[in-house]
């Protein structure tokens, strides 16, 4: 009976959240949010004086990090979160600014929220979060509930709750305590509602007048705190940042820099770098990576899980632990191995379990990020390698040079016939395919890059021959010839597009704006990136402190196709 009452109440809370239908928007746009209140105070009333300029939905990693940071890593986050759709050629961070939540997605959030709330206010943990003793454990106690929910709301909403919000959630706790006969069940209900609120699920950026640029807007202190925290640590602002926001430090350029520098010096910066590169390199594709196990006997679940982790460990070791030059990421010999990856790479691995550092021999063609099996396998087909996919990934992801999709009527027969002894290598097959004028234009951009990686098969295992024919790993990029993965890595390292692209991706990731929207800021940022020795800390510190990143750029709205509700 109690459970049924609780369930009804929790679903009621979900319905409250659902009623606040939101659709994110980037800071570059004027607000397109429309909110209707049926209980939970509308955002605009909750944040008096603030102008909401952007809403970015939390990613799954951010959600998990927040729960761990606010409630502890022992609180289990059970379930998966509706993925954010990646805009073409953009970051998921940009997609987050456009992401809505479907009814099914809200169901998932609601189920997770109820589960988390039950853990937080369960008998084992409640003492950590309830600083007061309710007058009667079977009844509502608004004063005690306020003491519990107010600090939690500050962490979850990334700003202090307004009086209206506070009153709403305290009332919700009381409404829950009544039918369930439990003060703590009431708190569960209120917390579940907070966790399904758009205030939590979306990073809501609000703006204030910019005193340096009359008539224009800049992000306010709370939004700056969230921006810093999600950019650098991929989680919610902690006490230091919230206090800094409260005291006005985040709008003071010098104090902002001090805080940003401290954050990039923290071990938690690695978490932020991981999140950024996972977004930039499209790691969501690993979730659907599949290979033909007959063709690739070393493909298994251990390997699938290890491939992105190996890339991230290589990246963070080089850029964060060693403070290395980003350009050297394409030629580094250092990486990490597990036993299952050791088989794929055909190298010894000292420990039976876990990761061990590994360094390829000088001159080994495995050098650099592009020689890693994760990249090579991700940009291949399930049964064969693909110089085109690999070349396209280099162009689009690492050099920010979009390549058009192939026309719909292309005949792929020539490239798919991997067993054709008359055309034993991919180079020969692609040459035959690219004689079609409608194909050759794009293949010229991608294939000479990807062909240099042909000494690695569709899973990224080294090979010297294909169909008994020696593989020619010569490549070319923008008129510069090279050999193999190491040659490609050196060419990438020497190209200004490589660092400019990273600057653009990082800026886009930080602001949620598209590459096009931040393009004009890139040359100056890249110069500062260079001045910092192309170190990732220097780049992220620069982005975290550049005033332009906090300015609200307005542009005329296109006529909306549909406006579902009106803002109060």
């Amino acid at each position: 009976m109690m459970m049924n009452s609780m369930k009804r109440m929790t679903w009621g809370a979900a319905a409250v959240a659902l009623s606040v239908v939101v659709s994110g928007c980037a800071a570059s746009d004027a607000p397109k949010t429309a909110v209707v209140e049926q209980g939970e105070p509308a955002l605009t009333r909750a944040m008096p004086g603030a102008q909401i300029v952007a809403m970015r939905r939390l990613t799954e990693a951010q959600y998990r990090n927040i729960i761990a940071d606010v409630f502890g890593p022992d609180v289990v986050v059970a379930g998966r979160i509706e993925p954010i759709v990646r805009p073409v050629h953009e970051m998921i961070a940009s997609g987050a600014a456009e992401a809505s939540i479907s009814p099914a997605g809200l169901d998932q959030f609601d189920a997770m929220a109820r589960n988390i709330a039950a853990q937080v206010f369960g008998e084992q943990r409640r003492a950590q979060f309830v600083p007061c003793v309710p007058r009667d454990e079977k009844l509502a106690d608004p004063a005690c509930a306020a003491k519990v929910l107010t600090p939690l709301g500050r962490y979850l909403f990334r700003r202090p709750m307004s009086p209206a919000e506070q009153a709403f959630f305290v009332k919700l706790a009381g409404d829950g305590a009544g039918p369930t006969g439990s003060f703590h069940k009431g708190l569960e209900l209120a917390l579940a509602a907070m966790l399904t609120s758009p205030r939590f699920l979306y990073v809501i950026e609000s703006a204030e007048p910019d005193p340096a640029r009359p008539g224009e807007l800049r992000l306010d202190a709370w939004s700056r705190a969230a921006r810093l925290s999600f950019l650098l640590w991929n989680t919610t602002p902690g006490e230091t940042l919230l206090t800094a926001a409260e005291s006005g430090k985040l709008t003071d350029q010098a104090q902002l820099r001090t805080l940003a520098e401290a954050m990039v010096a923290s071990p938690r910066f690695e978490q932020g770098v991981r999140a950024f590169f996972a977004d930039m390199l499209l790691f969501e594709k690993f979730d659907e990576l599949s290979k033909d196990p007959v063709i690739y006997p070393y493909f298994n679940q251990d390997v699938v899980q290890a491939l992105p982790e190996q890339m991230l460990r290589t990246i963070t070791d080089h850029l964060v632990a060693r403070n290395g030059d980003y350009r050297d990421l394409f030629t580094t010999q250092r990486t990490f191995m597990t036993r299952s990856l050791g088989g794929l790479y055909q190298v010894p691995v000292a420990r039976s379990a876990g990761w061990v550092p590994y360094e390829f021999a000088p001159g080994d063609d495995r050098a650099g990020l592009l020689g890693q099996a994760g990249f090579l396998a991700l940009y291949s087909h399930s049964g064969r390698s693909s110089p085109t996919l690999r070349g396209r990934a280099v162009r689009e992801l690492l050099m920010c040079e979009p390549v058009p999709n192939p026309p719909g009527n292309v005949n792929f027969t020539a490239v798919q016939e991997t067993g054709n002894k008359a055309k034993p290598t991919a180079r020969i097959r692609l040459l035959a395919h690219a004689t079609d004028p409608s194909c050759s234009g794009c293949h010229k951009i991608t294939d000479p890059i990807g062909l240099s990686l042909e000494r690695f098969d569709g899973l990224g295992m080294a090979r010297k021959t294909e169909n008994a024919a020696l593989i020619d790993a010569s490549g070319e990029m923008d008129g510069k010839p090279f050999q193999g993965a190491i040659g490609l890595g050196k060419t990438m390292a020497a190209s200004p597009s490589t660092t400019q692209c990273l600057s653009m991706r990082a800026l886009s990731y930080a602001t949620g704006r598209s590459g096009e929207d931040v393009e004009e800021l890139v040359p100056a940022l890249d110069r500062k990136f260079a001045a910092g020795g192309y170190g990732i800390r220097a780049l992220f510190t620069q982005i975290a402190t550049m005033p332009e990143a906090y300015r609200v750029v307005t542009k005329p709205l296109a006529a909306p196709a549909h406006v579902s509700m009106l803002t109060q």
Binding site: P293, R339, S340, G342, G343, V347, P348, V349, A350, S352
Partner: protein, 397 residues
Amino acid sequence: METPGRLLRIGLFGSALAAVFALGAVAPTWLRAPADAAAPRPQPLPTPPPGGVMGFVVDSFVQPVIQGKDACPQGTALKLRDAYLATLPAEERAQLERKENEAQLTQRWHAYAFGPDNTNVCSQPDMFERPLLRTVQSKKAWGLDLDEGKTDDTCAHEAFTTPTGEQGIDNQEYRAMGCTLEWRGVDGIAGDNQTGMRQFMSSGEWTQVILLRGVDSLQNDDDVEVIYANTPDRPLADSKGQFLRGTTFTISDKAPRNRNVLHGRIKNGVLTTDPADIVLTQTWGQGGARDIRGNRTKWHYAKGRLRLAFQPDGSLRGVMGGYRPIFDVIVSPAIGGAGSAIVAGIDCAQNLATLRHYADGLKNPKTGKCEGVSAAQAITAIPAFVNDVAPARTAAR
């Protein structure tokens, strides 16, 4: 003191193992390339790596059964049910074999597996008098010439000849056990034990590695250190169950630590080690000590030696030979206890009696009786990385 529950668990697990042996139908890999060191190799052998260190993981370790009707002309050795029936007068046997008497026959042959005080033929094989098994009658067997013609510490025995003509082959284990269903298989073309052994290896409870040091040439080298050891690491396998090449194993540094250090030489592409005691351990299942899982059994080969031919594809193929203590041969069904007898139909007492009869090695100087049988295992091994862990230093070592 065994509890009934423990006995039941052991019995059932032992039976399951026996069933594993009985179900195998895969052609043994060693048959595809006989373990004959002298066989010509048309393809050149690879060059040893710089430093001369080569690692391998054993991917097949099976009894080398030669199939064919001449080996067991009377058929495979009788299972316990049929062995019991064979003890009866023809008329009584015929009556019991009628379908309507099946329950009575089952009750009686099950009873044949037990003795006084709840003893049974597999847990206490010494306590039962049983006739010998049907044994291998052909003159051919795979194996090694262990005694090299000497008779001082062996007992009288008849040597085999390999299918390729090598004489003086000592493999009395094969003579004694080679007609059992577990060795020969139900269809006459597959060695059933191979399936069971392969499962043990795939599960990581029986992984063996070979590490060669000081290899200058795969053709001829007078001085090679050979470490033949167990590892707790489970081999990685492809979707068909074939072990993957080039994976890494670490020799166990925890007890029981079986790291046999042998000396060998390579002649004409064949590595042969000097006779030495070789001890390997099998850990049954992954469980604790309260049931059969987690129990360990030893494979002890006295005067053991390896003879392995390097293959053009980088693998090793050959034989391990040596003298095994008689009881070691039946330790698997003995651990299975009554379950091995009444579910798998194995008469351990009969096996033991036959092995004793053909024992030809490990002569007890006091009794003059042999307590071991010459034996051979066919081995194939594929390239792997092997981390050797040197023995721990102690005050005495």
